[in-house]
Symmetry: C2
Subunit: 323 residues, 2 copies
Amino acid sequence: MHFLDNYRSIIRDAINKHNLTNPPHQLYDPINYILTLGGKQLRPIILLMSCELFDGNIEKAIKPALGIEYFHNFSLMHDDIMDKATLRRAQETVHVKYNENTAILSGDALMVISFQMLEDLEPHLFKKCFCLFSQTALEVCEGQQYDMNFEKQQIVSFEEYINMITGKTAVLCACAFKMGALIAEAEPDDLKNMYEFGRSLGIAFQLMDDYLDVFGNQKTVGKKHAGDIVENKKTILYVLAQQKADEVQKHKLNYWYTITGENENKVNEVLAVFNELNVGDSCLELVKAYSDQAKNYLNKIRVDTNKKHTFYELVDYLLVRES
Amino acid sequence: MHFLDNYRSIIRDAINKHNLTNPPHQLYDPINYILTLGGKQLRPIILLMSCELFDGNIEKAIKPALGIEYFHNFSLMHDDIMDKATLRRAQETVHVKYNENTAILSGDALMVISFQMLEDLEPHLFKKCFCLFSQTALEVCEGQQYDMNFEKQQIVSFEEYINMITGKTAVLCACAFKMGALIAEAEPDDLKNMYEFGRSLGIAFQLMDDYLDVFGNQKTVGKKHAGDIVENKKTILYVLAQQKADEVQKHKLNYWYTITGENENKVNEVLAVFNELNVGDSCLELVKAYSDQAKNYLNKIRVDTNKKHTFYELVDYLLVRES
């Protein structure tokens, strides 16, 4: 998607411009490391897109967009410790490359800096954006907590799962869309609809991520194939499988999700159950449903339909992406 | 000090009132746990004192004061993981009572909540207080990084040490004094002098802490006797000892500070060197010097001298406290 590349180059330039060079380098090097690993940088891009949609000044939105990207990377640093993840964007995670203490402390600093990225905004706007951001940040922590709770739950309901990914993924996406609109001084109804659009899109995005982990192209995903199965992560595929499984299949799932560590047999056995129950297709149907919900909110936003074109494209892009 | 108790009861009531009861309890229980462990709660108290000094509305200052206390407790949660500390205020640390992941994530949430405590302030004041707070937060992270760096440095200069404790302890103290004055809408010169007063006092406070760890009354300190020596912490006593030591004493210090774990012999040997070099008294002289510096800043503040009485008392209290 060409238009995404334009925004992405603005974000990358801004990240490079805000490279942290002050001492102590032991604190700031790991931050520069994770920020330059790349990634899709969708969250800051959508903040810029949203600001432009409402004819806002994109220059004013760049640092807040970086703030959103910084916060996302802070959460990755800490989540990777908690999840004992060794790879992030096909490179070593911060706690592996450096150590856990560094990942904790540099993450803390990065969270603070993410909030500081709003400080150029005038007081009224600053306060509005900060309150949105801080509430979002807390919900992200709650989402991560629910995700950790799932490790000890054999059954995770569909509602619990959607609630978890809403916190862990969708609200930051919703926050980015709404903040862009706030900076452009959009009307309250449009702010609300942008937020809900972002939340639905964020849920669809995470469901697609769960799908790609198992059914995606390993090279483009850049993560270990079926890493979620290896790590006994209760993703939407697991939740759907538990709902649809007969006693034999439930027994299989429950057995394999107690086995830890790499095990080729395990991935194949779980995958066989997933395929028997067709949970891949069910997952794609959910992605479609949440994408449609997102489009419904987008329809309500009171700007020219042709200005919204790239937003519809963005939603559809989720349905065809391979990583 | 009776007047401290009055402020402390305001803070304790506010902490209890803001008890976090929303789900997920796995995220919020550890926060309630650390906040109700007590501690001196000097940081929020000085924010209230400072607000009153400039005839500000103390009601308006209570939530920001909690914010400072919350931030301090967030930093304790994470520092205790990094330092592998098992006791805090004579109770189990969060990562021991719960686990490391909980201490990381609940700490993150607590940092966010600490900033949210400013959100009742009107936009202009909110922005001023937030910018002060966020800059302080970053300096606290830098201080902790320097402290971790010291683990790998045999020689720590006096300047490096003061710089480290300025970040790790003094700036949050300075921030609390200045924020109280900001909420009371004090004049720029007074704001600056309150900040510098707090910084000098914070340095004196930390130096006294270093002294008490080794020479304090174990029961009232509530921590392991000479825990800093056991953990090879390069405190001011170590820095001064390295400066004054002859070759034999240096050799002893360097030897013992490579030995890890509990070792009664080690504490006695290091203590013997400290006593030979009289670093306890040198440390108390530094406490006095920084306290005097604090008083000089206090002298410059343009409010009635009799209103500043409790502030002078607070400084002196540092020189006689036993914990």
